[in-house]
């Protein structure tokens, strides 16, 4: 054979062989799951019917298989170690031992539950499926999830049931429900859904135009807990839940809300009775306590946006602080915001005075109003205008215009409120700014802030052994603040063998979460000082006690910045019950020249099994 034949021969040979070498793309797993080939033989409604609310836990002994599509998971954090499935007959909450179970059981996935061996129990009437009954008689989660929960394919999430608030029944519990034409109550609008900072749950109220109301509860761990509750009207979707006899909704995330329409009017009092009214005999408000650009928040005053999202703000110029409202650069079609005074009870004839400015005048956006029936919702009150000189078209920009003295002497003996209402439209050219300052009624006597009237004392040293307390009494020591951030329980005095100490515990607490602080007086650190204290624990289930230090605390715990103390020893899991553990010295010399407060914060959950008792004694600073 000639050599010239070789290469072609080789090429032909290889051309037969090489196609085997052409690689296809990398394999890709389907993102829609795989059908496990199971069939349900029971419905969720049938399963729930096996349990009687309030009765003992029901253990499933038959080979029952239910299936449902996950309608809510723990992705946003509003559910924790829990997800909700729904079939045509109803829905049920399933407790698992898994964090981030949404990876396995996400919204829209069909789940089969092999119920034999699982336990049905209700938590204050909310029926749940779990794995066992815990020692405290609560429902424990499904631990070996792979034995009971079989993951299926991706499905459409069931269409929400369309209901009105007054049509909701317990049959809708744990199903997806949509409400149309609803809005959050005015007192809740503008607040946050929950306390994201302290991770405490909160309730807000949802109302329809007939003023039927339902609770919307949000966990402090939800990633939208710190979001502002919208003020508008529209549609709402959530998973219905129940606590005792109260139906309540949980939303999955903010996409469940479509509340940007105009609020409906009506009803006399949507105020829910939340917040206590503050009544004063006079006013002297110069706004100097505020910080530039913060929303106006004054003790006893209401600052609310009733259209759009903007409200009154503190503004500072050349050292002077005042209140300002403006629609300039606002995206909303309409802006309406109210700054309403505390209730004023006139005991002597007085006149009202204040100052206003305007800038870039476009319209008369400011009005001053008075109401006798105002309670907390300005839209629900009847207002009458007050005749005052207000900054207007002919005034120079930012020139303060005195209102003149408005005689209110005819109102002696009556209770009323005064409102400063701004309207404008950023999109419609009504954008001029109004500023407000130096509101005076009489010679002063603004609302009394308890933190001002009874400020936290400053002490040079501390030696608190709590021995003045009486067993089981709430801690109430002069200069100390026993403060409940969440739940109903606070720190109690406890006595054992003649020694009195303080204790916090969520044991047997019926609330979902407990968060309570015991805060020392302010300690003047004027030289090297040391903090020492003792802690003890009992019946450990969790690390519930954290000890903080703050250098900016002044009576309001939630406004202060708290730093957890490092390198201290706090009684923990491995310590004997009731054994006093010394904290070890905490060197306060980094705080020389400052005033510090020590906060003992207990967080627990009586229903969540976080029930460790914590004790504190012998808090010494010198």
């Amino acid at each position: 054979m000639k050599k010239s034949l070789l290469l072609p021969l080789l090429a032909v040979t290889l051309s037969f062989l090489l196609p085997g070498c052409v690689k296809d793309d990398f394999d890709q797993p389907p993102t829609t799951g795989e059908d496990p080939g199971l069939t349900a033989n029971y419905t969720i409604a049938e399963l729930k019917a096996l349990h009687q609310n309030g009765g003992p836990a029901t253990t499933v002994s038959e080979d029952l298989v239910i299936s449902g599509i996950v309608i809510a998971d723990d992705f946003s954090g509003n559910w924790y170690r829990t997800f909700v499935i729904q079939d045509e007959t109803g829905g049920i909450e399933i407790l698992t031992d898994l964090r981030d179970s949404y990876v396995l059981y996400p919204r829209g996935r069909e789940i089969y539950v092999k119920c034999k061996g699982l336990v049905i129990k209700d938590y204050n009437n909310l029926v749940q499926l779990g794995g066992y009954v815990a020692a405290d008689n609560s429902l424990g989660p499904i631990v070996e999830v792979a034995d009971f929960l079989v993951k299926g394919a991706k499905q459409e999430v069931p269409a929400p049931r369309l209901r009105k608030i007054n049509e909701l029944t317990t049959a809708d519990v744990s199903t997806l429900v949509t409400l149309e034409n609803v809005q959050f109550s005015l007192s809740d609008a503008g607040r946050t859904f929950a306390d994201a900072v302290n991770q405490a749950a909160a309730n807000v109220f949802l109302q329809d135009c007939a003023l039927d109301e339902v609770i919307v509860r949000t966990s402090g761990f939800a990633d939208f807990a710190g979001a502002t509750v919208p003020a508008g009207n529209g549609s709402f979707t959530g998973v219905l839940s129940i606590f005792r006899n109260d139906l309540q909704f949980l939303i999955r995330d903010l996409d469940d809300l479509s509340l940007d329409g105009t609020r409906c009017q009506g009803g006399a009092n949507p105020c829910d009775g939340t917040g206590s009214a503050v009544t004063v005999n006079g006013i002297d408000e110069n706004f100097e306590s505020g910080a530039n650009n913060d929303p106006v928040q004054l003790y006893g005053w209401t600052n609310i946006a009733t259209k759009g999202s903007r409200s009154w703000q503190f503004k500072e110029f050349s050292g002077n602080v005042y209140a300002q409202a403006t629609a300039y650069n606002d995206n909303a079609a309409e802006m309406e915001t109210w700054l309403v005074s505390p209730f004023i009870q006139l005991t002597e004839p007085l006149s009202l005075s204040f100052e206003t400015t305007t800038a870039y005048y476009t319209h008369d956006g400011l009005s001053v109003l008075l109401s006798f029936d105002y309670e907390c919702d300005p839209l629900a009150a009847t207002w009458q205008p007050l005749n005052a000189a207000l900054a207007g078209q002919n005034d120079a920009n930012y020139a303060w215009v005195p209102s003149g003295n408005i005689d209110l002497s005819s109102l002696v003996g009556q209770t009323f409120a005064i409102a400063f209402k701004y309207v404008g439209s950023g999109t419609n050219g009504q954008t001029c700014t109004f500023q407000l300052d130096n509101i005076k009624l009489g010679s002063g006597g603004g609302p009394v802030d308890p933190c001002v009237s009874n400020p936290t004392p400053v002490v040079p040293s501390l030696d608190e052994n709590f021995n003045t307390g009486a067993n089981n009494a709430e801690v109430n020591i002069s200069g100390w603040n026993n403060f409940i951030a969440d739940g109903a329980r606070s720190w109690l005095f406890k006595e054992f063998s003649g020694d009195v100490y303080v204790q916090a515990t969520a044991y047997n607490d019926t609330g979902n979460s407990m968060d309570t602080w015991l805060i020392s007086p302010l300690i003047e650190v004027d030289g090297p000082k040391e903090l020492n204290f003792q802690t003890a624990k009992a019946f450990w289930t969790h690390d519930g006690l954290t000890v903080y230090l703050s250098t900016d605390y002044d009576c309001r715990p939630l406004d202060a910045t708290w730093t957890p103390l490092q390198n201290i020893t706090v009684a923990g899991q491995n310590d004997a019950d009731h054994a006093w553990i010394a904290s070890g010295p905490v060197d306060l010399s980094p705080y020389i020249g400052k005033k510090v407060a020590i906060g003992f914060r207990y967080v627990g959950s009586g229903t969540g099994g976080q029930t460790t008792s914590y004790r504190v004694d012998n808090v010494v600073v010198d």
Binding site: D27, P29, T31, D100, V103, L104, R109, V145, K154
Partner: protein
């Protein structure tokens, strides 16, 4: 590669005569060193082969009237010699005396892979996998094929495995198969440091026939340590290097066959390093070797060989890239820490596995050889590791200690911790003092027992092998064209797995109790590791934890026929084998009292394989050939037990693997140019892969993750050329473009450690993923200058590309990606296989020899990776993966770990021979 390696089968250049008479060529072959006659030298052409007589003479007849005849002379231990003969019409051609010389400048004989390739142990969760494995990859080659030369020397530095096979070759030691029954692994370190006396070897790397074995898919290597085959010499050498060891002294004395029929060979060496290339890796090894031959009459030869290499060395572990960066080096080694001013390594390999072989060769005639051998391997193999009771994980790169993990919770804290580590990288090492303090000062006591109950100890994980082998091989040539080889082998192997307390680290005792069982009790289980003993207190030297044997037996019979014709060669071979293995437990484990103690049922498999091939001799220079093999084979005992430390549970779906392999190629052998191109295609079906780790999510526990029904295909084209550009200048090029991919979607199964429950993990979408950890494109180009004045120098440039890291099966399940957008970033991040960056390296090598009277002096130097390139030789995704964490924080706390080739490294060696 095929023909050169087996010279007595070689079919080299020849002219093909069509008609006419024969040419008789005759001459004498002498040893170039001492001018003594060399018997049994293979003298061959493409079609004919003869052996030299005891006086070194030979005579060969070539049919027809060829114009040109190329004769090949080969004897084991000598360089291959080719001589071109021009008969010019003569019918009787006497040749000048032929001198065969020993190869002296072959760099492969100076350093072996064991010396050059980092020795890496996996750390972390998948720790258990490598027990007893001596993961020294690569193949020791004495081949003359340019591709194999490049692959085994230059390319292996970049993690290159020939054809992507990690371990597919059969290794024989003095005729006795040496692969483990349990895992097919080869303990290369058994003869570590004995380079001088392990040079005699025959090897193939493909499906071509070999005379001494059926061979594996990746060929076969046969070591021959008979004293009479050792080069007669006294030789001392010293090597200085910055690799795994810094110095090596070696001495060898071989007598050759003495007149009284005896031959002796002795060798020994010492290798040491205070610290090797990788921080914290010391090296402390000796080796010894003795071989004695006795000729019994003219037809019998007996050999006794005894060798061993007691070795202690500190191991390296790979870590995640972020920690490497904090430490400032890709060679960050979490295994060591400071103690009393010295670096102490927690992972010390301490091995001494002596090997004794007795071999008998009977050569009743020139045509027949019967070789019979028995061998016994025994001794210890231990690897130390930290162990701890209920105490924080002491490993410095434990994931919870890394800034990467902290960053998922608090980015500022993570940055602060990273800064602390960067300021003081010693904090990234084991804090021995803290472990001692914890044991001594916070010492706990167990049930009031006096002394301190160590919470941290150093354990020694032993896997001591005892293996008895026997084999017999018959080679017979019926005539010059038809030959037969056949053999029988038998194995009996016990690998004793157990753990001892190596160092109590300042405490006084430890407990033989399963802390996991203590922490997470399961009804019906007890936490004791051994219910047969009431005494749970263990002290240094005591066995604890687990204690069992994996035992096995294997019997193999094989036979092969080779036919040589003028135009083509044919061969056909078959093999039958039976494999049995079982577990014998010496502990009754408290978790599994019913299936942990005593002898388990035996698993047995009967397997068959066949292979065959044909070579077409187009003319004297051009050859086309094709070979194929079909095998089915027993699963490895290594993969058969779900959790052998605890119990004898067999993994579900244990089955035989099927292999089909095919190769076809072209070979050119012209004067001055050798070239070869081979296409290969091997399909492995029904494979099993097993790994042990922590599975988060719905199972949240440790266990064994199995892939069953795993198919893979290794296909590609390898080519090489070696051209003499001038008498002193040689160009060598070699390259391979492969595609080694998985071709099935295996089934994932998880066997839970704590209760043995089997969980189906569903389909693993692994099809078309790359078989990991070898560059699938690699090439090298070298130029060698060989000066007439006994010196030579070479430079080689190597290129590595398409090396893919090992993938975690759990990340390729439908569950892991449920609900993600198909083309979303997270989906891609989860399933995409990482490709290591490509790399170029440059190697230099130089050599000079002197002769002073009868004394030879050799100086050799080599630099590997001259430009200090970063070469990733492999790596793996950690098997644990937390999707929610990645989704929420963007941080994968369990990223891949990579292996790196050494940066610039060198050796200098001087040797004298007399």
């Amino acid at each position: 590669m095929r023909k050169v390696i087996l010279p007595h089968l070689l079919t080299l250049l020849s002219c093909i005569a069509l008609h006419g008479q024969a040419v008789r060529i005759h001459g004498t072959v002498l040893d170039g060193d001492n001018r003594t006659a060399l018997p049994l030298v293979s003298v061959g052409t493409a079609n004919t082969e003869v052996n030299t007589n005891p006086d070194g003479t030979f005579e060969i007849r070539i049919p027809g009237q060829p114009d040109i005849v190329v004769l090949t002379f080969y004897k084991q231990g000598f360089s291959l010699l080719e001589r071109t003969v021009l008969p010019a019409g003569r019918s009787d051609v006497p040749l000048d005396t032929v001198y065969l010389v020993h190869p002296v400048t072959n760099v492969k004989d100076v350093v072996t892979d064991e010396d050059r390739i980092p020795i890496i142990t996996l750390s972390g969760d998948s720790d258990g996998e490598l027990d007893g494995g001596q993961n020294i990859s690569g193949i020791l080659s004495a081949s003359a094929d340019p591709f194999i030369n490049a692959a085994s020397f230059n390319l292996s530095n970049g993690g290159f495995d020939i054809r992507g096979y990690s371990q597919e070759s059969i290794v024989l030691f003095n005729g006795m198969p040496f692969n483990s029954v349990e895992s097919d692994a080869v303990f290369w370190s058994t003869w570590g440091g004995l380079n001088d006396v392990t040079r005699n070897r025959l090897s193939t790397f493909d499906l071509s026939p070999v005379a001494f074995s059926f061979g594996g898919i990746g060929g076969a290597i046969a070591f021959d340590t008979r004293a009479s085959e050792q080069r007669r010499q006294r030789r001392f050498s010293y090597m200085f290097s910055n690799r795994t060891y810094s110095g090596r002294l070696m001495g060898t004395w071989s007598t050759g066959m003495l007149k009284n029929g005896w031959a002796f060979s002795f060798s020994g060496s010492r290798r040491w390093a205070q610290e090797g290339y990788v921080p914290g890796t010391f090296y402390d090894a000796w080796s010894y070797f003795m071989s004695v031959d006795k000729k019994l009459g003219n037809h019998h030869l007996l050999n006794l060989t005894f060798l061993g290499a007691p070795t202690r060395r500190g191991a390296q572990a790979s870590s995640i890239q972020q920690v490497n960066e904090l430490a400032g080096s890709n060679f960050y080694n979490p295994n060591w820490g400071w103690q009393n001013g010295e670096k102490r390594n927690a992972r010390v390999v301490n091995t001494h596995q002596p090997l004794l072989t007795l071999r008998h060769d009977w050569r009743p005639s020139q045509r027949t050889t019967l070789t019979t051998a028995v061998g016994y391997l025994f001794g210890r193999y231990g690897r130390t590791a930290l162990d701890w009771f209920i105490a924080p994980d002491p490993r410095p790169d434990y994931y919870r200690n890394t800034p990467l993990f902290l960053a998922t919770e608090n980015a500022d804290a993570a940055a602060a911790v990273a800064a602390v580590y960067q300021a003081d990288p010693d904090l990234l090492q084991i804090q021995w003092d803290k472990l001692y303090t914890a044991n001594r000062e916070h010492g706990q006591s167990y049930q009031g027992l006096p002394g301190n109950w160590s919470q941290y100890i150093l354990s020694d994980q032993r896997s001591d092998t005892r293996r008895l082998n026997a084999s017999t091989t018959l080679q017979h040539a019926f005539n010059s064209r038809l030959s037969l080889q056949t053999g029988l082998t038998a194995y009996r192997e016990r690998i004793h797995y157990f753990r001892t307390v190596d160092d109590l680290l300042g405490g006084d005792y430890y407990l033989n109790i399963d802390r996991f069982a203590l922490e997470n009790p399961i009804a019906g289980q007890q936490p004791g590791f051994n219910l047969r003993s009431d005494d749970v207190v263990v002290r240094e030297g005591d066995t604890y934890g687990y204690n069992y044997d994996i035992q096995g037996r294997r019997y193999t019979a094989w036979t092969q026929i080779q036919l040589k014709r003028n135009r083509f060669d044919l061969f056909l071979a078959g093999e039958l084998s039976r494999t049995e293995f079982w577990r014998e437990g010496y502990y009754q484990n408290g978790r599994f009292p019913d299936n942990s103690y005593g002898t388990s049922p035996s698993q047995s498999y009967t397997n068959a394989g066949t292979k065959g091939g044909v070579t077409f001799k187009l003319n004297g220079r051009n050859y086309l050939y094709a070979n194929a093999a079909f095998l089915n084979r027993a699963p490895d005992a290594r993969n058969a037990y779900a959790s052998p430390r605890l119990r004898d549970q067999i993994v579900p779906g244990l089955q035989e693997e099927q292999v089909r392999s095919f190769e076809a190629g072209y070979q050119l052998r012209a004067p001055g140019v050798k070239a070869r191109a081979t296409f290969f295609h091997t399909q492995f079906n029904n494979g099993l892969r097993l790994s042990r780790f922590f599975l988060p999510g719905d199972l949240t526990r440790f266990g064994t993750y199995l892939l069953t029904g795993l198919d893979r295909r290794h296909a590609g084209l390898e080519a090489a050329v070696e051209a003499k550009l001038s008498p002193s200048l040689t160009l060598r090029g070699a390259g391979c473009i492969g595609e080694y991919i998985f071709t099935s979607r295996p089934n994932g199964i998880f066997v839970q450690d704590d209760d043995g429950v089997i969980r189906d993990r569903g389909t693993i979408y692994l099809k078309n993923f790359y078989v990991p950890n070898s560059p699938q494109t690699a090439g090298s180009l070298g130029l060698e200058y060989r000066a007439p004045k006994f010196w030579s120098a070479s430079v080689t440039v190597n290129y590595f590309d398409r090396n893919y890291l090992d993938v975690s099966p759990e990340r390729r399940t439908a569950d892991m990606v449920f609900g993600l957008p198909d083309d979303g970033a997270l989906f891609r991040e989860i399933i995409t296989q990482t490709e290591a960056p490509d790399a170029f390296t440059v190697d230099l090598f130089a050599n000079k020899s002197f002769k002073v009277d009868d004394l030879f002096l050799y100086l050799t130097a080599g630099v590997t990776n001259l430009l200090n390139a970063t070469v990733v030789t492999g790596g793996f995704e950690q098997l644990r993966f937390e999707r929610a964490q990645v989704e929420q924080t963007g941080i994968n706390v369990f990223p891949e770990r990579r292996f790196y080739a050494f940066g610039t490294n060198f050796f200098l060696m001087g040797a004298i021979r007399f």
